[in-house]
């Protein structure tokens, strides 16, 4: 018998004994459809959801900008480039990221067709697209397909996210629904909810940003 069979047999034997009394938390079927009513409240309208995202993102120390058009984005990104003196950026192919690369006119590492870790490590910023923004939590949802792989959103010291207004979803249940619709049975290797720059509180419970990943995170909504 393989170890797998042994463990599964032990599980089946164990489960043959029913739980003695139906104490708390042991009542029949779960009710996941009601989740929306228990988790923190988010409004129905897109304005309310945008306001919720803005507020939650600010609490997570995400710099958030709602921009009206490409010109504004260009202005914003070039100002950021000057302010932080970017010399090289990492990014991936995509409608928004290609536009950003064009605006910035900097040496650019594109991760799409592979890269060397040290090359990405020396980039001043990682610019990615995303799958969704979650109003309820202020999180950015990325996958290894939508955001240029696993490392681009976490290795450079500044993570800049470019998103479209239509990508804002109300809450976590909606985000999971969206993932299922989008990827179905062809799942990417990694799916990540990013809620702010990398952080730690391991030293005297004091918040420090930039533990391992980005020290800064910026979200631009078009």
């Amino acid at each position: 018998m393989t170890e797998r069979e042994k463990i599964l047999t032990r599980i089946r034997e164990a489960l043959a004994v029913p739980v003695p009394q139906s104490g708390h938390g042991q009542r029949g079927e779960p009710r996941p459809q009601a989740l929306v009513q228990w988790l923190p409240l988010v409004g129905e309208t897109s304005d309310e959801q945008l306001a919720a995202f803005r507020q939650n993102a600010a609490a997570l120390k995400i710099v958030f900008h709602a921009l009206t058009d490409g010109n504004e984005l260009k202005f914003f990104l070039t100002a950021l480039r000057e302010k932080e003196q970017w010399k090289e950026i990492g990014t991936h192919s995509g409608e928004l990221t290609d536009f950003a690369t064009q605006c910035l006119a900097l040496p650019t590492l594109k991760t799409d067709s592979g890269y060397k870790a040290f090359e990405l490590e020396r980039c001043d910023a990682g610019i990615t697209e995303c799958d969704a923004l979650v109003a309820q939590t202020g999180s950015v949802l990325v996958t290894s397909r939508s955001a240029g792989g696993r490392a681009l959103s976490v290795l450079p010291p500044h993570h800049v996210v470019l998103a479209r207004r239509g990508q804002l979803v109300r809450d976590l249940p909606a985000a999971f629904q969206l993932l299922k619709q989008k990827y179905g049975e062809n799942w990417p290797g990694m799916i990540s909810f990013i809620s702010g720059p990398s952080r730690t509180g391991d030293i005297e419970r004091t918040l420090v940003l930039g533990a391992h990943g980005p020290k800064k995170m910026t979200v631009c909504l078009l």
Partner: protein, 464 residues
Amino acid sequence: MKSPLQQFQQQAEIVSQDRRHREIIQTALEKYAVVRDQTRAAFQDYGAAREAAAEIKTEALAQLDRHLEQFVSRLESRGAKVHWAGNGQQAREIILGIVREKKARSMIKSKTMTSEEIHLNEALEHEGVEVVESDLGEFIVQLRKETPYHIVFPAMHLTRGEIKDLFHRELAANSSDHPEELTMVARRVLRQKYLAADIGLTGANFAIAETGMISITENEGNARLTAAMPKTMITLLGIEKILPRLEDLALFLPMLATNGTGQLLTGYNTLFGGPRQPGECDGPEEFHVLLLDNGRTEILADAEQRDSLRCIRCGACLNVCPIFRNVGGHTYGTAYSGPVGSVITPHLRGLQSWKHLSYASSLCGACSEICPVKIDLAHHLLQNRRNAAAQKPSLAWKIAFKIFTCVFNHPALYRRLAPLGRVGQKLYPLVKGTRCDPAYAWTKTREAPAIAPQTFREFWRTRK
């Protein structure tokens, strides 16, 4: 070699009188309690969410075999390699096998309590592999050659000054004691380790049966990097981590964060479904998932305590436990400390050697009340006591209860013996506080109440 009981008693005695320790722990946990309660209050109905969390975990366990098979087949369909280990030794051998096959010299780890459970680091170091913990708290305790103090806050017992000295000594770093500067020292050191590591090893917070993915909750981004940089990735997890559906995470990610750290969501909540997929640009070439039993099926077989497998290791029960707060995490001598550790360790490592943990409780029930998946921890501690006594009754207790039963069943005998207490009390100061004192454990720090000058019967007679 000290027994676990002796070790616990000695350590508890020392730590509970250490005022500095108490101050550090109380300050940290008070901060935690404030944010936890704020975040709970943001839920529309936290009670219903908690009830649902318990039900979903119960459902996951009720069909654990089917869920595990589903989890494994989905995961394998994307090219992951799944291993099964019945106990810690098998798990260590499987991991060492991968290390040898890859001729790996270095491993970077993100936080996993399961690897503490199976003492993985020692085995790897014995093999000559450089193992580096990447979670900041874990990195700090690893440099101190200590085990994690707490399952969520591994270095909560240390001050910034101690960490500064540690970094100076071990890393030759000349930084101030400011947490930000100290964190940057660790960041610089660990970045290089990431770029050089042959293997990345992670734990998992949840395993999704429906889609065959593992879910990791973290704040630092270290698990993200562990799963991105090295060529080989290993994930070690207990078989009880299963959740049936992907959307269950919409509940469990906030529940874990709220109770673990007080955040609504932690910085990174990431699902990994395989190695680098076709068309993707990075990620490990090989992804090994190791499912560990190591006593978990034994807990499952104990129908009364089966619910303790619902545990999501948030650490909330540790944080509210008056015993944990006074004796500290290291005193337990186990990978899992606090109330949940006291409940499950006897199952994982033997009831008779670890039953004392079930007495390290005031039975206040704070743990049962806080648990986000409604594990009835306080009652399980009582059940462990009962089971331990039934399995191996103590002769002294047996004799004591025989005498007690006899005296209380015979009124005449009781009448004769009751006044003896007064005589006994006069003689008692002769032995009080010495090793001959039968009530030493109680009286070394307390006064025994005086026995009344009359028994009730004597009083009643005079009143008439």
